[in-house]
Symmetry: none
Subunit: 202 residues, 4 copies
DNA sequence: GCGTAACCGAGACGGTACGTCCCGTCTTGAT
DNA sequence: ATCAAGACGGGACGTACCGTCTCGGTTACGC
């Protein structure tokens, strides 16, 4: 699943302990569950994992990187690429899966914490783009392209804006908490976007 | 604009110094400009404002609250309530104003930092809701309601979801930085949402 | 007993409140009882006395001065000038009175705290000399002089060194707590000093 | 001379830096010289020693303990155990050495500050007893015992009271500053005490 | 089968910022 | 001019973590 983010400098010498790596990620997940990104301190991770702090820093350069790896495994495992035969069906399935993954969950809280961290740590921002945003969007974009192929929306439609509308509005409710991420919300959002894209350049 | 966040408990005793309050907010703004939310330390604010730390804590219980007050004044001053005569015109004007305010600006970076901070500080979350999210949405919702009155979109349309689509997608690009907050983006988003809401229950 | 240490600057305007003065000294005594000189803070005195801090500073320039006034009243009331007819009797009575006053009492602990404070506050040191050390020594020296008059010790004896031996050893046990201020201690000290002074220049 | 006051809990991990320890004690001594116990702040010690505050607290739990260690090294190095062949000679040599060490010196001022500190910090009081008062008295008591062995004073004489008279009177002049710690003072005190002890139960 | 290089847990290191406490002064409106 | 109240600028406190470093000890590869 999640492999060593920083590979050993050399192949000589004592190899990295897999046990330590597992223990670190488990401790990280546990701390994220207990108190979110704020409660995640390297000191406490080391303590709980029974590991020296240097052993953590040897693998993950920053707290953000560590949390990212713990988060990503949990997140990706829950994002299917639906193939229901209709654009509406695909988008609704994907949006519902996303909501299920983040709404009221540790994964959701971690996602929010990481979004914040990404703003201040440029190195994390790169990793965030390359290993989270881009892959997830690439996967989701497939649904739009299939809709175009099926003629459900015109070829001129901008798939990126479609994704921004769909998931941006969902991220918005996750981050601002002003209104619930209900199933009705998912349905109306999908309907409105599909309808808007279809009839866009009417 | 920005009033005393925590009013004095009593009317007796020496009144709070307005000079100190101004100096604190100015130092805060300056630090936010220089290094964003991360670089904002109470210690440095006190130093630059020529103020004891206790004088800050007397008014703002946390760094988040302080940054919020400094942010809010700057943000609200730039969000007009457009009245162009058409739904499309109003929404486009509002979205463009928002983008202008946050895209590549200190205000935008502070907004992001605060969104993160809000997730971890429940007291700040309340203030964030009451004094930022709700007022801004209430103002924006007026545009949708005028569109309904003019018959541009049907009465059944959910104005909150319309706002989530419009601004959620914009917040998404601000926070994930995967694609630019271009003017074309604003136009397509507005067109798609207006069209989607109009033809929704066709 | 203890009068206003700093008289009003002028006789015009509102006169100083005697109620405030009493309340301050009572609060001071109470705090000295509870936690000694360390626990004595101007803030807490003002709070308990129901008095503004400025009202205290108008009368006592420092914490040491305030504690000194609260201490002196209690101390002096308990130091008699014995007149038993013999040098030994007088000295023993005086030493016993001193021990009774300070051994295990708040007055004793305050005395120690003040001795420390005196070292760092030159203004307090002056007051300490003029209003505590000198008067008490002058009173005690009378006993020695009566002993000389009675022929119990030779005229060449240095009364100051006699007092230093008597009370210095007692202060020593009070401050170092290495051995108790027992009555036997008092007796042996008096006997040794009287005998030493008598036979000094044999 | 002065050993690590709080030994590491465990032998594992990075060992305590001797360089840091030396630097801390030097900075402490320097600050005590400049402004006495009052001017001694942990913050300034850390700054001058080029050390984090935690590094100080790891070894010395309080300011008093730190000052004590810095003081003790200086003090003990200057207290000889005289052996002149007569009680009077020994006591005079010891008292003169003590006066030389504390009269008008940094060591003397620190001694006074510590005596005050001892009254308020029970943990320091224990250390003060065990590592200062007791050892010094034990050393001094030897002189008395040799006097008894030589028949200069009777076996019934209480050596502790003899020490209290000798050094108590000297501490008294140090702390109250009412009269100087002159050499005449030392001579008369020693003569009086020796004579008093000798002729006590005449 | 032996040296050695990289690892391991532990914990100390210099440093930054925190939020609190108290100092002695100052500023109100009200006697 | 003084009162109670309480805010002011300032200094130091003791704590929490940061990311780095230094120990003695442990693998496991390549000579």
């Amino acid at each position: 699943m999640s492999e060593s983010p920083i590979p050993p400098v050399s192949l000589r010498g004592r190899p990295r302990s897999q046990r330590a790596e597992r223990a670190i990620l488990e401790a990280t997940t546990q701390l994220l569950e207990e108190g979110g990104f704020v409660a995640l301190t390297m000191e406490e991770v080391a303590l709980r994992a029974g590991v020296g702090k240097a052993t953590i820093y040897r693998r993950w350069p920053t707290k953000g990187m560590l949390a990212f790896d713990a988060f990503l495994a949990q997140f990706l495992a829950r994002q299917p690429l639906p193939d229901t035969g209709t654009l509406r069906g695909d988008l609704l399935a994907a949006l519902r899966a996303w909501i299920r993954t983040v709404n009221g969950t540790v994964t959701g809280r971690t996602l929010v914490g990481l979004i914040a961290e990404v703003q201040r740590d440029p190195a994390l921002a790169d990793v965030w783009s390359d290993r989270f945003v881009r892959p997830v969007r690439d996967q989701h974009r497939v649904m739009i392209e299939r809709g175009v192929d099926r003629g459900e929306i015109p070829p001129g439609a901008d798939p990126d804006i479609a994704l921004d509308l769909l998931f941006g509005s969902a991220y918005h409710r996750l981050l601002q908490s002003h209104l619930p991420l209900s199933d009705r919300f998912a349905q109306v959002v999908v309907d409105t976007v599909v309808s808007g894209m279809a009839g866009g350049p009417r």
